[in-house]
């Protein structure tokens, strides 16, 4: 691992956009951290082999799936690395995931207490509940996951009017008037011509990309794209090429090469070149460089698919996503996709763009033809949340929440950096990943925070590179300053106990006052 420090320079630039990207840092940890991470994984792997040996010999009972005796001569099913990792590392520590929540996932929530008698192979609920733990893991960016009876009155009315299930697909008899209303509202919110909504966010990506691109097309997708985008791209049958994360040189090189050489063997021109990026990447907290991608797209005549799952409602002065953050004309983005799960407290996704595109998808998308339509109470929840954000319900609650989220984000990130943790991502993104690196520390962090009544999400190997395990905090507009201060206080203590403060950059809380490079090596 080469020693690398990233700059926090302030280059005089025009407007917000250029300032954004100078504030994205992906600091690398010192060398000893990498050594210790590999050491930890190595020792646990050795013990994994030892335990597998004991299981094979019969000295220990195997609690996981095993082939039947009649199948002993078949090709082994459970010997690949994923199953090995699952048996020997994940199972030992899996009490940190799948914790049962027994209340609304708002800023505070209740957890059911779970203990295990046989080292996490089985669990039992003790019956006690952990009340009012602070929730730092739910994607509740604007705080719409609430159960206030006044706010939810329209949802209750619509449930009485339409029922709960739609019992049909969109194409057959599942298009309700409330769906039409929602689609017009989404289109006017995003300032595009028209939009279409789907019942499930993951399915919006994986079922619609095959309808947009087919064999003979080229998909240029970012290194760190979400699984739903990757699945949709693979299902479509197009050629997929991956460019380095947020790296415009890599993307431009691939675009030039694609335009010059064409399809692999025949060298015919590609039918379509689609660039797939996300607004905010959920594991890194980094924001896409939208204005540069649009410039590239116009130069090389490609199409752009923007997945705003985490950024819609959460960034931008009025919550309209990265297109507003970068002051870009929404008509420049060919396909805008997003989900309602995160900022709107509901479920489902949308695709928005030109009228011809959306009309085409209405009849050719798998999700529209075969999947059940969005449920009416969920649709009404999105309608009321969106009207609140746009200010159409007559109050300033929406704008207040957006500003509160932005303020919480800036405060939380600044304080964590001052404390000395390594944080990835852009300073304006409400997703805050804190790097923990070592497997033992990841587990200890989650357990200690739970003891202090704070629920966090830690992420390890399959979702992140094996040496970059992290804890991911999702800030919410409904977190008060007192809650954030409590979380920060506990983070400070846990960070000292576990020695998690790896950062070597000295962070100054007012970086805008000076013009030159303002970092120092400690």
């Amino acid at each position: 691992m080469s020693f690398q420090i990233t700059h926090l320079k302030n280059v005089p630039g025009t407007g917000i956009a250029s300032r954004q990207h100078k504030q994205e840092s992906f600091e690398q940890a010192p060398m000893y951290v990498a050594v210790m991470t590999y050491l930890g994984f190595g020792i646990v792997t050795l013990f994994g082999y030892f335990r597998d040996f004991l299981r094979a010999v019969g000295l220990e009972k195997c609690n996981l799936a095993q082939e039947r005796v009649e199948q002993k001569d078949f090709v082994p099913l459970y010997q690949d690395f994923e199953n090995f990792y699952n048996r020997n590392l994940y199972m030992r520590v899996r009490d940190n995931w799948n914790r049962p929540v027994c209340s609304l996932p708002g800023p505070v929530f209740d957890l059911m207490e779970r203990v295990s008698d046989d080292y996490n192979w089985t669990f039992r609920l003790t019956g006690r509940t952990l009340h009012n733990a602070i929730n730092m893991g739910s994607y509740n960016y604007l705080g719409f996951a609430e159960n206030n009876a006044d706010f939810l009155k329209t949802v209750a009315d619509k449930t009485q009017q339409y029922g709960v299930g739609v019992c049909s697909t969109r194409q057959e008899m599942g298009t309700l008037s409330i769906h039409e209303e929602l689609e017009q509202l989404v289109a006017s919110f995003l300032r595009v011509e028209s939009s279409m909504t789907f019942g499930m966010g993951f399915a919006t990506n994986s079922m619609n990309i095959p309808a947009i691109v087919g064999k003979g097309g080229l998909i240029l997708s970012d290194e760190l794209n979400h699984t739903s985008l990757i699945l949709g791209a693979r299902l479509s049958g197009a050629t997929i090429r991956v460019f380095k994360h947020n790296n415009m040189h890599s993307l431009e090189k691939m675009l030039r090469e694609a335009v010059c050489s064409g399809q692999p063997r025949t060298h015919r021109p590609w039918k379509k070149i689609l660039i797939m990026v996300e607004g905010i990447y959920s594991m890194e907290g980094s924001v896409v460089r939208l204005s540069e991608i649009i410039a590239l797209k116009k130069k090389y005549k490609a199409y752009l698919y923007l997945d705003e799952a985490h950024s819609i409602g959460a960034v931008g002065p009025s919550g309209r996503g990265v297109a507003e953050l970068f002051n870009v004309n929404p008509a420049d983005v060919d396909v805008m996709m997003g989900t309602f799960t995160k900022s709107f407290g509901a479920a489902g996704g949308y695709i928005a763009g030109k009228k011809e595109l959306v009309d085409y998808l209405r009849s050719h998308s798998h999700s529209a033809v075969y999947a059940s339509a969005m449920s009416p109470p969920v649709t009404e929840q999105i309608l009321r949340a969106m009207k609140c954000i746009m200010g159409k319900d007559g109050s300033t609650e929406g704008i207040r929440r957006i500003r509160q989220l932005a303020e919480n984000t800036r405060y939380f990130r600044a304080r964590l950096k001052e404390m000395g943790f390594i944080i990835y991502g852009n300073d304006d993104s409400p997703v805050v990943p804190i790097l923990l690196y070592m497997p033992g520390k990841v587990v200890a962090f989650a357990r200690e925070m739970l003891e202090r009544k704070i629920g966090v999400v830690v992420v390890g190997f399959p979702a992140t590179p094996i040496t970059e395990a992290r804890a991911r905090f999702c800030l919410s507009a409904s977190h008060t300053r007192a809650m954030l201060n409590q979380v920060l206080r506990h983070m400070n203590e846990v960070g000292d106990n576990l020695c998690l403060k790896f950062s070597r950059l000295k962070y100054s809380s007012c970086p805008n006052l000076c013009d030159e490079t303002d970092f120092e090596l400690i």
């Binding site: 590392l89 030992r92 070592m438 497997p439 000292d496 576990l498």
Partner: protein, 80 residues
Amino acid sequence: MNFKSFREYLSWLYYQYLLITGIYVLEPWEKSIFSSILFSAIGMVIYTSYVFVPIHVRLALEFFSGIFGGQSESTMALIN
């Protein structure tokens, strides 16, 4: 970090050892196996170095002083 007693500091050090080597996630008998192997290996290294390092250092010094000392004696002989 303020430690109320030396015992607390020792238990914090033990915790760091568990976290860094990664054996925090293992079961207690596995922790004992690993710790006993590690400390017996360290013990053997210390014992071997205590017994053999002074002897080896003395032999090395004699060897090198033999070369350089012998060299300077022969050049002196040539000059004289």
